[in-house]
Symmetry: C2
Subunit: 297 residues, 2 copies
């Protein structure tokens, strides 16, 4: 298992099944790719793809799907609730299975050059960012597609690849390298939403909590419970067991108990290293010890 | 990932590198197999192989290595410290990656018939056993190769396959289906061996502990510590978190702390389901959520 990357591109089309399906086919076209998810959202008018494979196969699949996306989606006609800068809005490359982040950065740069050569403005973000203010894609996307014609003229927002001018049909592409997100939700046996909100605030980065946690408090109607709903944005730097035990301590403060939790969607094997160390005291567990990893070339 | 089996045959040869290597080659010969380990032991004069793949490939590889073993090893000349009944002493088939135990039983039966047809006496054990007293291979092996000529005449020990008579060159084969063993060792910050022995006794089945735990207390000289050294023989029925928390509670009784632990060798992914449920409260985690499992056909 070496040089495995995941790629989760987001396109600005969530309604037209024909376009969505043709783009799915283009991802598979050159081989070596496993598609994990295709998640269209009609309100956002946006589809998220997730696929993985060896680095070169993933880069090639992304080039294929990008070409088709630039051809089929016209941003001049696009409306949707989700903020976006272009037809192929975001293209994150994600290291999995022990792959180094530097490989994901290389993949983003190779793909960025390709898109730039096709005449599309490209911004690099997160670990592929060329300037600190481009690390967070929210900054790059500020003003959205509609504001891009002006923003792109600002020398501070000259694209990293491609033309320094607005391309009306496609808008711009943001591509980068980042850790896999892990969606982790913890349920509490109370209907008091303020408890979930207070605990979410205690763990979320923007309110003084952990550096790599995004969190909100939610009501789960079907269960008469509340939930701390989180994204762990870098489980290697903010380990899940530390977040879990912090939530457990906070819950105690409010006299509530944890009734259950969910890991939603894909979880990288390396996520288990912290769990093994913290709860089973196994400090040097290697994901290659999992028997089934022997089945991966 | 479907119908994946592991097979861990033990042969009665641990010294002759040529024989050991030729048998390794015979395992790979028909393809589809990943070899995890080849562990020769000179004192035991015994080698343990571990390999995995799809059921039919694993059965075929085992037939290939068995034929060569019957040909190359002569039990009439064998000496070694480990108890044994034959040249190909034990052949366990082990379900991994969500495979059902019934598939491992089928594999054992197909292999057992093959060996029987070659004229070798075969006993089924563990989940493939045909009688309760044959479940435990220690019972079948009692008297060893040297006692087999007599034992095999006893109607209670008529082989399940093959001739009901002693075959001097090969002895008998024991083949069966069982869960993967997980080797789990917990270290304690004391030099008092009696503490490790007392905790081992508290968790081990033979002393009144958990049904699927084998355990001993050991001294770890290089660390000035003691260790509870365990084999978890069915982690689905005796979950690791329950063993871990029992050891933690016992350690407290003796005023000692857990300083670390080891998972030695291969660990099945499904081992994590209990850990996820107990420590992260995720009660319905599926190993298919691990991103990397998508890379397995």
């Amino acid at each position: 298992m070496k040089n495995i990357l995941m790629c989760d591109p987001n396109i600005s089309e969530g309604k037209d099944k024909k376009i969505i399906d043709e783009i799915t086919s283009s991802i598979k076209k050159s081989g070596g790719i496993k598609i994990l998810e295709v998640l269209p959202d009609e309100d956002h008018n946006r589809t998220v793809y997730a696929y993985l494979g060896e680095k070169q196969d993933v880069v090639q699949a992304t080039k294929n799907m990008a070409e088709l996306t630039f051809e089929m989606i016209d941003m001049q006609k696009h409306k949707g609730d989700h903020p976006r800068l272009g037809a192929l809005d975001v293209v994150p490359f994600i290291p999995v299975g022990g792959t180094e982040m530097s490989e994901a950065v290389e993949a983003a740069k190779e793909f960025g050059k390709f898109a730039g050569d096709k005449g599309i403005p490209v911004y690099y973000y997160e670990d592929a960012a060329t300037r600190p203010e481009r690390k967070n894609l929210v900054n790059i996307r500020k003003g959205q597609y509609e504001g891009l014609a002006e923003k792109i003229k600002d020398p501070e927002w000259t694209p990293d690849e491609g033309p320094a001018e607005f391309v009306a049909k496609t808008g711009a592409v943001m591509t980068g390298a980042r850790m896999p997100l892990v969606a982790f939700n913890v349920n509490l046996n109370t209907t008091d939403l303020s408890v979930a909100k207070a605990i979410a605030d205690a763990v979320r980065h923007s309110k003084g909590g952990f550096r790599y946690v995004r969190a909100i408090g939610l009501r789960i109607k079907e269960k008469d419970q509340v939930q701390v709903s989180m994204n762990l944005t870098d489980y290697t730097k903010t380990p899940p067991s530390i977040v879990m035990e912090s939530i457990r301590a906070q819950a105690k403060r409010y006299g509530v108990n944890i009734t259950g939790a969910e890991l939603v969607g894909p979880v990288p094997l390396a996520f288990m290293e912290d769990i093994m160390a913290n709860y089973l005291h196994v400090h040097d567990f290697s994901i290659n010890q999992f028997i089934e990893t022997n089945l991966i070339d």
